[in-house]
């Protein structure tokens, strides 16, 4: 096993040239578990911790450009918390302070776990993911990068370098269900974005399928039921129908963390509650958050 700690992307690409089988290492919070338990012994590791181009973030036009090495703790900072609120919310549900100081957004994408906490957010925001290799850069949609559980379309020698999301888009919520508030892998999660200006709703579901699922039918339905001027729902049954459509979009499985039935139930509750919170906090009417339990 060989470990390389490049200081810039150029050096990382050179290292890949010498060891094409190298494993990329970002925060280490998934990778080191496998190494510690002797489940994995890759021939080489390219550690991205010091790669300058992957650090920090910037505003570019209406977009927030996040370096792939940005940590969850950094995503929770006050400025990014305003610019991409549901990413900050999702980040705060990741592991513990220790994990949030180490784990990175690029690492979450590269690992591509169906339960990755940032992933529903990036799907709901239609994030663009920029990957690079010595042959150049390409921009991928969320669906084009993650194609199965722990499966991505990253080619050999390709590194996720940037994630681009819209700045301060509409109203956003992220909700996650697990056995505790800390140190928990999601049983179900939802990222919901209500784009008041664009008059659309985006709803992405985590941990209830092999990949993050966009609940397109639920999105279309609820977009057609919102009174966009008054910022409220037009019908009494709208929330129930929205919840039912979210549940029917889910494709959950039974595993050691939950049953499929519970996941389907929980993801509906999360979506309904997320929409309720957005209407209560940013809506026009006197929305009451009482009908949450079903």
């Amino acid at each position: 096993m060989t470990v390389v700690v490049p200081a810039c992307l150029e050096e990382a690409f050179e290292a890949f040239d010498k060891c094409p089988d190298a494993q990329l290492l970002a925060g280490g919070t998934d990778f080191m578990v496998e190494v510690n338990f002797a489940l994995r012994r890759p021939p080489a590791v390219v550690c991205l911790r010091k790669v300058e181009e992957l650090k920090g973030w910037r505003l570019e036009g209406g977009e927030v450009v996040l370096g792939a090495g940005i940590t969850y703790a950094e995503l929770m900072g006050p400025q990014l918390g305003d610019l991409v609120p549901c990413l900050a919310q999702a980040s705060r549900t990741v592991g513990s302070p220790q994990i949030r100081n180490a784990g990175t957004l690029g690492g979450n994408l590269g690992t591509a776990s169906p339960a990755g906490d940032s992933l529903p957010v990036l799907a709901a925001l239609d994030a663009k993911i920029i990957v690079a290799s010595k042959n150049g850069r390409r921009s991928l949609g969320f669906d084009e990068l993650i194609v199965g559980p722990k499966r991505t379309t990253l080619g050999p020698g390709e590194v996720i370098v940037e994630i681009r999301v819209p700045a301060a888009l509409g109203s956003q919520e992220f909700l996650k269900v697990g056995t505790r508030n800390a140190m928990v892998i999601a049983v179900a999660s939802v990222a919901l974005v209500v784009d008041w200006a664009g008059r659309s709703v985006r709803c992405a579901l985590g941990s209830v399928g092999p990949v993050v699922i966009r609940a397109r039918d639920a999105e279309k339905f609820i977009s057609s039921r919102i009174d966009w001027t008054g910022r409220e729902l037009t019908g009494d049954d709208d929330l129930a129908e929205f919840t039912a459509l979210v549940r029917s979009a889910a494709r959950p499985i039974d595993d050691h963390r939950s049953t499929a039935d519970y996941r389907r139930h929980a993801v509906g509750v999360c979506a309904q509650r997320a929409l309720g919170r957005i209407l209560a906090n940013h809506g026009g009417g006197a929305w009451e958050q009482t009908s949450w339990a079903s």
Partner: protein, 165 residues
């Protein structure tokens, strides 16, 4: 740091508690926790879960609280690492936080204590006057199976009050 390609067993240096330490003939897959305990003679960081769940191996790396079991040791070259040993003012002396844990009964079997001490140190450095919720969130990555946490929270409050005078 350049792109140093190194062999199966390597020699490297880690900066721990203000001193350069030589690591000789290390396997490159070793975690920082393993190297601290087994190669550098710093057993304060405890090895329990090896998967970032329990926090008993917490250290500061470039001023950030991390689980040392989740850090590939060979990738930590050039980083400033502080372990629980580095937080006490001198050999056989206790930091104020350690003293508060003792005084308040926040220690029973003691296995989780070093991790808690590092986490609480990190909390009070960044937030000298945390609310109880902030304390709970700050130690949410540290597991204790003895105390039920009440006395640990009391110890944090005591350390906080002592620092504020």
């Amino acid at each position: 740091m350049g792109a140093d390609i190194v062999g199966e067993l390597i020699d490297y240096q880690l900066r721990v508690n203000g001193h350069e330490h030589d690591v000789a003939d290390g396997w490159l897959g070793e975690s920082l926790l393993y190297v601290l305990r087994e190669r550098l003679g710093l057993p304060g960081s405890k090895n329990a879960c090896e998967q970032g769940e329990c926090g008993s191996c917490s250290v500061l790396m470039d001023g950030r609280l991390v689980c040392s079991c989740m850090v590939l040791a060979a990738s930590a070259v050039g980083a400033e690492i502080v372990t629980v040993e580095g937080l006490s003012p001198g050999y056989n002396e206790l930091s104020d936080i350690q003293a508060a844990f003792l005084a308040e009964g926040g220690v029973q079997c003691g296995f989780c204590t070093p991790g808690f001490v590092v986490s609480v140190h990190d909390l009070l450095e960044h937030n000298p006057d945390p609310t109880e919720l902030e304390v709970r969130e700050a130690v949410s990555g540290n597991l204790c199976r003895c105390t039920g946490y009440g006395r640990i929270l009391a110890a944090v409050r005591a350390a906080q009050e002592t620092r504020q005078g």
